[in-house]
Amino acid sequence: MNVQQKSAIIWRIWAGFDAVHIVSYMGHSLARGNVPFVADAYSALETVERYGEGAYVFVALSWTLELSILISCWLFWTQRQSARWLSFAQTPLRLFLMVPSVSLLTTALGFYPSYSALLAIGLVVLSETLKCLSVWWFGMDKAQRIRAGA
């Protein structure tokens, strides 16, 4: 398997994780009897009303990340190079909002209700490190890889 094929697989894996995040969210939302995104948009407005203008920043960050996951899912699946830069841009948001790129982690943690906060933070950091390194490495073209000593 050559590097291009490996890159394609890595890209598809991250697209898959993004898709799992979206599907999981929509499934849980529907299970609660809500219309995905619409119900949360109303709830977010209510939260802002209760909390005050200080919530705008946090709510905006959250929705920006959700929107960017939809886009990155599509970019990774279609093997676009821009997916690499978008995933780098997502990293600070994912770390701050604790949304791991390995989206199965959130589901897995659900099986251990008494998990520690430090463990959760550690797993998110590990997940983002793994994603950044893999996307950085497999996002390089052949010349770049040679310069990097591969």
Partner: protein, 234 residues
């Protein structure tokens, strides 16, 4: 030490209204010192000001001096005023005086003073709110690390994600509006523009209006406008 000072030279930051004698008592001091004006600093300047307007007619001068004091164009500063301008006394009528001040008199006095005074009755009005971004980020991270497995919601669409965050609610002491002047007699007094800060925490706490008896709100609850009464807030 007693002295007279012209109103335009009166500095509210330096002089206190609690040291300004009520014109009713100030005029008896004037009469006492009128023939020995150098004993009371500032009185000679007041006499000179009246002389330049009226010439040397002494009786007219005295009337003019009293008029200027009653119109509060000149203030008598004294260490122990009998009836200082600051406080309730300048708004209410003097007990020893036979005539009764009308509401219009009190209103006129109030407006006259509040137009220049930077200290007096008022209300606490919302000025600004400081959301402590750095500290709150830590709380959000802590909240989120505990609720990570709670899927099916966009983050922060639920107020619980913002639990325990803090903010500083700042209020400013401002003058009462025209339709609030009924509060002025009982109002506490502060410097206009004075700020006060109160820290609040966002909690799912007891309330008196929600059906469940609990709701997400800032604790303690602070209204945008607070009327502070003498001896306690309302």
């Amino acid at each position: 030490m007693n002295r007279f000072i012209r109103r335009d030279r009166f500095m509210f930051e330096r002089h206190s209204l609690s040291k300004v004698e009520d014109p009713f008592f100030a005029r008896s001091t004037v009469r006492f010192f009128l023939y020995n004006p150098y004993s009371l600093p500032g009185l000679n300047d007041l006499i000179k000001e009246c002389s330049s307007e009226l010439g040397q007619y002494q009786q007219l001068q005295e009337d003019r001096i009293i008029e200027k004091i009653e119109k509060r164009q000149w203030y008598l500063l004294t260490e122990r005023p009998l009836c200082p301008l600051a406080g309730r006394s300048f708004l209410t009528h003097r007990a020893g005086e036979r005539s009764v001040a009308t509401q219009a008199d009190i209103q006129a006095k109030y407006e006259d003073l509040t137009s220049v005074v930077k200290f007096g009755p008022g209300k606490w009005q919302k000025s600004h709110i400081d959301y402590h971004g750095a500290v709150n980020s830590f709380f959000l991270l802590a909240n989120r690390s505990r609720s990570m497995s709670n899927e099916g919601q966009v983050i922060f669409s639920d107020p619980g994600g913002l639990a325990n965050t803090i903010r500083t609610f700042t209020q400013e002491w401002v003058r009462l509006e025209a339709d609030e002047l009924s509060f002025k007699l009982d109002s506490a007094e502060h410097w206009y523009g004075e700020l006060r800060n109160q820290k609040q925490t966002f909690l799912h706490a007891d309330d008196h209006w929600d059906v469940s008896g609990k709701s997400w709100h800032w604790v303690p609850v602070i209204p945008d406008i607070v009327y502070e009464y003498r001896g306690g807030e309302k």
